[in-house]
Each structure stands twice: as C-alpha cells, then as structure tokens.
Symmetry: C2
Subunit: 161 residues, 2 copies
C-alpha cells in the first residue's frame, strides 16, 4: 500500500468517524498528557464542591504547612509569578481562610497563616482529594503507584538544572 499524497486526495470528507492517531500515540508525552487531563478534570470537579480551584487549594495547603511564609516564597514554591498570586491570596483572605499579617521586623512582607476555618476546609478538601486519587488510580496496584511516583521523580530530577 502506497501512502496517499496531498494531490491524490479529492475534496471529499474523510469517512471515518474516529480519526487515527498512531503518530501521537507513539509519543510517551502524549500518553501522559491524555491520562493527566482526566486526573486534572476530576480533581477540579472534586475541589469545586469546596469552592476551590486547584491553585487556591494548593496555596491553602502550602500556607497551612508553612505557617508564616511570605507571598514571594509561596509564589516561588507554586512556580507562579508574584503578581499572579495576589488575586489568589486576596480570595483566600476574603473568604477568611487565611490572614495576612504585617511582619514586625520587615514591614514590606506579609506573614501568611491559615485560620481555623481555613484549616478545617483544608482537611475536608484534602480528604476529598484523597478519595479522588483512590478512585482515579484504582486501576493501579500499590507497586504500580510506587513505580510511577519514582519515574515521575526521576523525570523531574533528570530535567532540573
């Protein structure tokens, strides 16, 4: 079978309803992307029940775990630019999930701390996220998950300068 060249195609519609994607499916990055999209979408739905987006949830968890951190350090940890963190922190503060307190010995910075409400929401959301993960990865054995974690870590280390 010879391959079809552009000139051989008459202007008619491709008949198949599902397109072939042999080329893309052979790419590991493409497979990771497709699977990760499902995980990401399900995570977003899970967090929507708590009125949280992935980024606000991640910020909340990080602030709880690093009480007293600054917006600069947090932006650095979340790998986002400082200006983009402002709205996220504003939202968490408006919902009284965290507080911004001026630091005594460095009045440029804020000390970020979760409130009791924020801490409780964090626990609830985290439990939901764990349930989401249990469900999403129920097709993997414990050994699979361990191997997968190691591979993801290796990919990161292989490509961090």
């Amino acid at each position: 079978m010879s391959k079809l060249k552009p000139a051989d195609i008459s202007p008619e519609l491709h008949s198949d309803n599902v397109l072939t994607e042999f080329t893309l499916q052979a790419l590991l990055g493409y497979q990771i992307k497709r699977a990760y999209n499902h995980v990401q979408n399900d995570l977003s739905e899970t967090l929507a029940a708590f009125d949280l987006r992935v980024l606000t949830f991640t910020a909340l968890v990080m602030i709880k775990e690093n009480a007293g951190t600054s917006q600069s350090k947090l932006a650095n940890a979340l790998q986002i630019e400082r200006p983009n963190l402002v709205a996220i922190i504003d939202e968490l503060e408006n919902r009284e999930l965290i507080v911004r307190e001026r630091v005594v010995h460095d009045r440029r910075a804020y000390s970020l701390v979760v409130t009791k409400t924020g801490s409780q929401l964090c626990v609830s959301a985290l439990n939901a996220v764990k349930a989401h993960e249990k469900n999403m990865f129920s097709c993997l054995t414990a050994a699979d998950k361990k191997a997968l974690t190691k591979m993801m870590l290796r990919i990161r280390q292989n490509n961090e300068l």
Copy 2:
C-alpha cells in the same frame, strides 16, 4: 510534638527558604503534574524552533494522518471546542501548511489536507519531538516506558465513560 495552631504563630516570617510540601508530595496526581510540566515546557521549546505551538503541531500531525477530515472531527479528536480550532486552522492555512477545500457533496464542511510544505515541516518537527522525548525520558529504561504507557492507558480507560 504538638501541631501549631494559627493563634500560636506570631506575625514573623517563616524562616526556611524552601517550603515543605509533604502533603502535596504524597499525592500521585501532584507528582505527575510536576513531571509533566517539565515535559510540556521542553516540548514547547522544541516546537518553537519550527514556529509551532503544541496545538498547531498536534493539529498538523492529525491532518496529515487523516487527510480529508473536517474541522468538527478534528476538534473532537483534539478534545477542543470547534470555535477554538478556527484560529489554529487559519494559521496553518496562512502558512500554507494545509489547505481547506469545500467538499463537493456537503458544501457546509471543509476537507483538510496537508500541503507538501506542511508534510515536510511535520516530518522535521516530529523528528525533533522524538529527540526531545529521547532526552526527557533518558532516565527511564525501555521496560519503564512500556509500563508507564500501559499505566497511562489504564488510567484513561478507567475514567472514560
């Protein structure tokens, strides 16, 4: 050691330069995300050398592999909404990498076909992407990659309705 409650934290900056993230690191989805970000960023850089974004590249590959397909079918395959595909197709057509031809027996639809230039660029870009993958996943053995592919496929199948 008892856990610190919000009230116990004086408004001082967290002293560590690197924040802890035990909670997030325990989540498999988070590990996949972190690793995938590296892959995605490197892929974007790779394709930028050909003036292609990930989506325009993916569209080009799919059109080459499914000559004569329509924009609706392509949008469906790429999992994006039809309106968002228009600009992508416009760009590929303006660069003369593909052509839009009116279909004879259904004048609503276009038949999408790569040009010779488009086909050649596709081959070059694909070679670069393969090199990118070889580099990104050089830390994984052939068996690792095979297992990873199977796991990603299982996650997708586990979560498709």
